[in-house]
């Protein structure tokens, strides 16, 4: 097992840039406060060697969001006699995630934020040690985790691929750019994103007029100018939608297509939970609070982890309880909702445990729009126009009946 452990439980630890903020909040916590421990299990897959990204992710990508959320929750907690403790464990790409979860369980953590690939999440929910705990999936977008592989002890803070694709599709349809050229990478997750785009096209009146798979093995950095104009020759379309989750070639499409067309999907105009240019609905405050603590802008991964911790923090404040059983029940009740700086309040879909939420559409240096788009209606909340709605769910393991 090659596992790097961060100091735990992470209290006012000064080893992290956020230690100071966290320390202040904890110092202010009254003596004898009720403690709420939140495990944080993270695993970052190694990027394939073919990817040359100019933006190296920060070492604390994700964790910094969780640390800030614990500090925020403690600031509130000091008025309610509640104190939150983050218990982070980092699992190496080839490490033993099950052992990490067992360790968190042995420490008594009833809430475990899992910031890991979908396969890891699926395996963890089945462990006997995961029973009776609440796992919060903060990173994996796999629709299968919300569908056939759903679990009673698993909630999804990160939006699913279907939600991301629907958010993008609504905007393109609203713009009257409904004819799409779908370009899919060679990895399994790219095929899943492409499936979500096809589903979205059907739902909102888009049309996939051409499809191609990118299989080139050569270094795209050197060959893009020659290869992409040829590769992108297709019949008339409005937008090229790319499915390239690891970022192998998608960034090279813009400005090199045969026809002058915009690029959207995993590169170009991207659906995301967070973006550094987002400032509406009080987001400017969270951006500056995060930047002051972490010395860098908040990423979507940071934000998902922030939200996952805040789900627990908000439930504790609202129900004025630190009892894990009471909190687990409250989070999944219709009374639970929380603010996350994207306008509409977030709440949980009872049928698959997915957090319903608005999705941002962002270009590199500007926020383009926020979905759901006006005009896409739903009798419950417009947020349920994104992703799998109750009648469509494939989840059978959460005790929900189809209506």
């Amino acid at each position: 097992m090659t596992k790097t452990r961060l100091p735990s439980p992470l209290r006012a630890a000064s080893c992290l840039p956020l230690g100071l903020a966290l320390g202040v909040a904890l110092l202010a916590a009254p003596a004898g406060a009720e403690e709420i421990r939140i495990g944080f299990l993270s695993q970052t897959p190694e990027p394939p060697p073919s990817v040359s990204s100019p933006d190296e992710p920060a070492a604390d990508d994700g964790l910094a969001g969780a640390v800030l959320a614990v500090a925020d929750s403690n600031t509130t907690g000091k008025f309610l006699n509640q104190s939150f403790v983050l218990d982070p464990v980092e699992v190496a790409p080839d490490g033993d995630a099950a052992a990490a979860l067992r360790e968190l369980a042995a420490r008594g953590d009833r809430f475990i934020v899992v910031d890991a690939p979908g396969a890891t999440v699926a395996a963890l929910t089945k462990l006997p040690e995961a029973a009776g705990r609440l796992l919060l999936n903060a990173n994996a977008p796999d629709d299968s985790l919300r569908g056939a592989a759903c679990a009673a002890n698993l909630l999804h803070v990160a939006p699913s691929r279907a939600m991301l694709a629907d958010a993008l599709a609504q905007y393109l349809v609203k713009k009257r750019w409904p004819r799409w050229f779908l370009v899919t990478g060679r990895r399994p997750e790219d095929a899943l994103f492409a499936d979500a785009v096809r589903r979205a096209a059907k739902r909102f009146g888009g049309q996939i007029v051409a499809e191609k798979t990118w299989t080139a093995e050569s270094d795209v950095n050197r060959t893009a100018e020659a290869e992409i104009p040829v590769f992108t020759q297709a019949k008339s379309y409005d937008v090229l939608i790319v499915a390239d989750e690891v970022g192998e070639f998608g960034d090279y499409l813009s400005y090199r297509t045969a026809d002058p067309r915009p690029v959207a999907g995993t590169q170009g105009l991207v659906p995301t939970v967070w973006h550094r240019t987002h400032e509406q609905w009080g987001a400017a405050q969270l951006q500056s609070r995060f930047k002051a603590a972490a010395k860098r802008p908040m990423t979507a991964r940071d934000h998902n982890d922030w939200t996952a911790i805040r789900v627990v923090g908000e439930a504790a404040a609202r129900s004025r309880s630190a009892d894990p059983d009471a909190l687990i029940a409250f989070i999944q009740s219709p009374d639970f909702s929380m603010s996350a700086f994207r306008g509409a309040p977030l709440s949980l879909r009872s049928w698959d445990g997915q957090l319903r939420q608005p999705v941002l559409l962002a270009a590199d240096r500007s926020l383009v729009s926020v979905s759901p788009q006006e005009g896409f209606l739903h009798p419950r909340t417009e947020l349920d126009t994104l992703g799998y709605d109750q009648p469509e769910t494939l989840c059978k393991n959460r005790g929900q009946k189809k209506p």
Binding site: D72, T75, T76, F79, G282, S288, E314, S337, M338, S339
Partner: protein
């Protein structure tokens, strides 16, 4: 925009009832000037209350948000959020005369009834700073919840209250003890707080909760939650921000943000009487001293709506700068 904008004149009137109240009405012809802070232009728009024309645009500090008149009405305090200062504008000369210490990222503030203490919410540092206005010094600071925002001071000067957006609480600051002594949990993302004229209730808006909580000041418990429903507008677009209560206890006006309406609430029965269509993303409001006119800032459409309180009709909109935020009326 804040309760303290209109409060000094009104509270004075209250102590000299009813003769002065009559005088206020009689002097309604006196020219009124409306000041509006434009968050994204770093300016103030000055509107002539008679002609409803913008007569001047004054350059101020970065990202001006909350504004409030000094007790004597000669100065305007401006939260210049990105300059981390409260600027003081002399209204006669239209010149910035000095800054008050404010702490980080001041957003909203409230002036104590005696005009001497300014309560400032420091949104980025989870602190309320209380400034002694005459000496221009920080009197004290109090730790509050995450993202402090709404501020008010009770008419008797006993309480300073602050709402914190991410903590979703009202923090009750005891002025004598200079400390938070109680907290009231309200709906998610509380934005604005205003005491009734007699101080018996505190009205607090919750932007994400979509509600207004009416809190009994004596017990500091929520006694009523007001809900809003507008036909054809999704529930999650109804996001209450500014609240204005009329002195006669008749109405509460609630700005509903991206729902582009102001709700008129019967302040006694707590029933919503009407929804008035105004500009896009209505934010803050101010009543004239004679209580006959209500002004609203509409952030996205960049204008100010004028509401006639007697007829409950929107009579005009006045184009101002980008992202108008605060509004104050000098009678």
């Amino acid at each position: 925009m804040n309760v303290a904008n209109v409060a000094p004149a009104i509270r004075l009137a209250a102590t000299l009832l009813p003769a002065l109240m009559g005088l206020c009405v009689a002097s309604g012809a006196v020219a009124q000037t409306i000041y509006v802070s434009n968050e994204k232009d770093n300016t103030l728009s000055v509107i002539d209350g008679k002609t409803m024309a913008v007569t001047d645009t004054i350059k101020v500090g970065k990202r001006p948000r909350g504004i409030t008149l000094s007790k004597d009405g000669t100065q305007l305090f401006i939260c210049a959020s990105d300059d981390h200062a409260v600027q003081v504008l002399d209204l006669a000369t239209k010149k910035l005369v000095h800054n008050l210490p404010s702490g980080e990222d001041p957003e909203q503030f409230a002036l104590s009834p005696d005009g001497k203490s300014l309560f400032i919410a420091n949104e980025d540092s989870n602190i309320v700073t209380v400034v002694d206005v005459p000496s221009r010094k920080v009197a004290f600071q109090v730790d509050v919840g995450v993202e402090p925002e709404g501020m008010d001071v009770s008419p008797d000067g006993r309480w300073g209250v602050n709402t914190s957006e991410t903590t979703s609480m009202v923090h009750w600051i005891d002025m004598e003890k200079r400390a938070v002594v109680d907290n009231t949990l309200v709906g998610p993302r509380p934005r604005y707080a205003q005491f009734t004229k007699d101080g018996s209730q505190l009205w607090v808006s919750s932007e994400i909760g979509g509600t207004v909580s009416v809190i009994d000041s004596a017990t500091r418990k929520v006694q009523k939650v007001v809900d809003f429903h507008i036909k054809g507008i999704a529930k999650d677009r109804i996001q209450p921000v500014g609240v204005k209560l009329t002195d006669d206890g008749r109405y509460a006006f609630v700005a509903l943000g991206p729902a582009n309406h102001v709700a008129v609430v019967d302040a006694k029965s707590f029933e919503v009487k009407d929804y008035l269509l105004v500009g896009r993303r209505v934010w803050q409001m101010a009543l004239t001293p004679d209580q006959k006119t209500l002004y609203t800032t509409n952030g996205v459409s960049g204008d100010v709506s004028v509401i006639d309180v007697d007829s409950l009709k929107v009579t005009k909109s006045v184009k101002v700068g980008r992202y108008p935020w605060g509004v104050a009326v000098k009678g």
